[in-house]
Symmetry: C2
Subunit: 353 residues, 2 copies
């Protein structure tokens, strides 16, 4: 049976686990807060679900629990952050704050990061920008290559995601958070667990034919965004986002990306980039946010297709989920609960309840 | 019969036409050069093909032939350019040069533009960055709303494109240039002309059903990138790119976008954004460009699907086309030739030959 736990209990559990493997108190709290935020926003594959893996990697020495996260290059419009192989959440919070501070002075600031790690869902960092009144973008190199080049069969690319946030005034923040494949590998695994065939257009086999057998997904290839008709676009996006978030920062990209799902002990050298845009540099920021509201309302009030209840704007669903889970708790399915109980016993901390 | 004309003849013809409707000599040459570049790169719908429309709009007073293109807001990491309703090519060349100059000092610079016009294919401006040794992005609000919100039927969005360029050292520049729909409206029109049914997954009808009758395309809706499986991603991209390239700059977006294919006399207030990233700010720029080459070569040398001759990297095809057309000329199909001959007679200039 799926239980639900209050966000505060989740935060405390995550922080206790991270402290148990050596994170300093303040860092454990920071990471726990961001991981619980991922669950509150409904990014179920990127929150507490990742905790056992993070703990394994920390114990194996693959992540530095006492990093010296610092700016190694800096100009008015940019900074390059070296994460010293710390937890990705710490590196990206530092990078986002750096971008926001610099953008207040320079109008726009691009902050790259290298020697980082998995940092949870992209929307977290895009939303940090919006919470500071900024628009902006977040991009990163994913931590496992699940994507082949268009026309190829070798897994040389991750499903490198992009998140973009644009704040309105009264309307919820517009937040796009998307991977550059049609479906994520996580979704495929969910279908396998449920014994359902995959929708056509999610994967192809290594001969290039449509593939729908979720249980044999490991033999097949995710289709890039655009699918059979226009997958070269998703492939192109995954490539250029990876070059900008990884290669530019001298972080891992292409064959240098390790599969952190199967390898607990290698340093990932994860690359990210975050771009903060201060609307006040472009004109009256309130007028800008009113214009965003106007576009959002035009879309939301427009005529739906037959059978469509309402037209949504990106970010609405995650905001609704956050409100709902903040009040009624985060659902923890049985398999996850068992894995967290096992982790708690192993670490000698109180189980999640 | 399709003729081919040397690029120089094409440039001279375009410049003569633009001079005839009042553009100053230097501006006519600049626009002609960029329009001919579009044809050289194979962006056939965005080069000389647009000349009769540009001339109509200039004659109708919808475009300012003597604009005061200028920076109206500026900080170290950004500038906002007001195009004073000049030709988009002039505005975007100015914006790209501003971004490059500022990025040399600040590392990264974001330049927005408003009161601009159609500027040809996105790749032109991304390639300008790469020619200056920069990586970067170009985005814009398209000049006709061909896209409905996901789940809707009203055409509130353009197929807002994005182009990203990343220069290697010995390998050709990686250049992605993509619209945020599965197929462009131009491609649909080509199918209609050839009497071919559309591939499934390009359009839906206003009931949400698959639609393949190219001749009746005006009754149907383009599917956003991602198609039926994941079109909410393409919709989200079109929306956020439009907010960043249009709304942020107080340029047209949403219902405020006029259809410049059917309206010759209204000011478009087109918005664009260009972001220049100087790799030298992040470290040794040559080492960066070598890393880009390494990724490009990994991909190109990887195993193809059965039946696939070779794996391509975005930008290769347009670079090949440019080399081929620079040496053997730009093809001008009969219908286009007739329209350009008509234009020449109308303007009293020598026909293209």
């Amino acid at each position: 049976m799926t239980i639900t736990v209050p966000a505060e209990a989740l935060r405390q559990f995550i922080a206790a686990a991270l402290r148990a493997v050596g994170l300093p108190e303040a860092d454990a709290r920071t990471v726990a807060k961001l991981m619980a935020e991922a669950d509150l926003y409904g990014a179920d594959g990127h929150g507490v679900f990742r905790l056992p893996q993070y703990v394994r990697r920390i114990r194996a020495g693959a992540v530095n629990v006492a990093p010296d996260i610092r700016i190694v290059r800096e100009r008015a419009g940019m900074a390059l952050v070296d994460g010293d192989n710390g937890m990705g959440h710490l590196v990206m919070r530092f990078a986002a704050r750096t971008a926001i501070d610099k953008a207040r002075a320079s109008g726009v600031a691009w902050v790259g990061a290298r020697m980082s790690n998995h940092a949870g869902p992209a929307l977290l960092y895009a939303r940090m920008l919006a919470a500071a009144g900024m628009a902006g973008l977040y991009l990163c190199v994913g931590n496992a290559n699940h994507l082949a080049p268009w026309g190829g069969v070798e897994l040389l690319l991750s499903t490198n995601p992009i998140a973009v946030a644009v704040p309105g005034l009264e309307e919820p923040v517009v937040v796009l958070d998307m991977a550059t494949t049609v479906a994520s590998y996580g979704k495929v695994k969910t279908y396998a667990q449920q014994g359902k065939p995959l929708p056509a257009g999610w994967m192809i086999d290594r001969e290039g034919r449509a593939f729908t057998d979720a249980k044999r997904a490991a033999e097949a290839l995710l289709l890039p965004l655009g699918g059979l008709e226009a997958g070269y676009k998703g492939y192109g996006l995954a490539l250029v986002l990876g070059l900008l978030a990884g290669t530019l920062n001298d972080a891992a990209m292409g064959r240098a990306v390790i599969d952190f799902n199967t390898d607990d002990s290698s340093v990932t050298n994860t690359g990210h980039a975050i771009v903060a845009i201060d609307p006040a540099a472009f004109g009256d920021p309130t007028a800008f946010r009113e214009r965003v509201d106007r576009v959002v309302r035009e879309i939301r009030a427009s005529q739906p297709l037959p059978g469509v209840e309402r037209i949504r704007v990106p970010g609405e669903r995650s905001a609704e989920k956050h409100a709902e889970r903040a009040s009624s708790g985060v659902p923890i399915p049985p398999a996850l609960k068992a894995s967290l109980d096992h982790l708690a016993a192993d670490l000698g901390i109180a189980p999640l309840a």
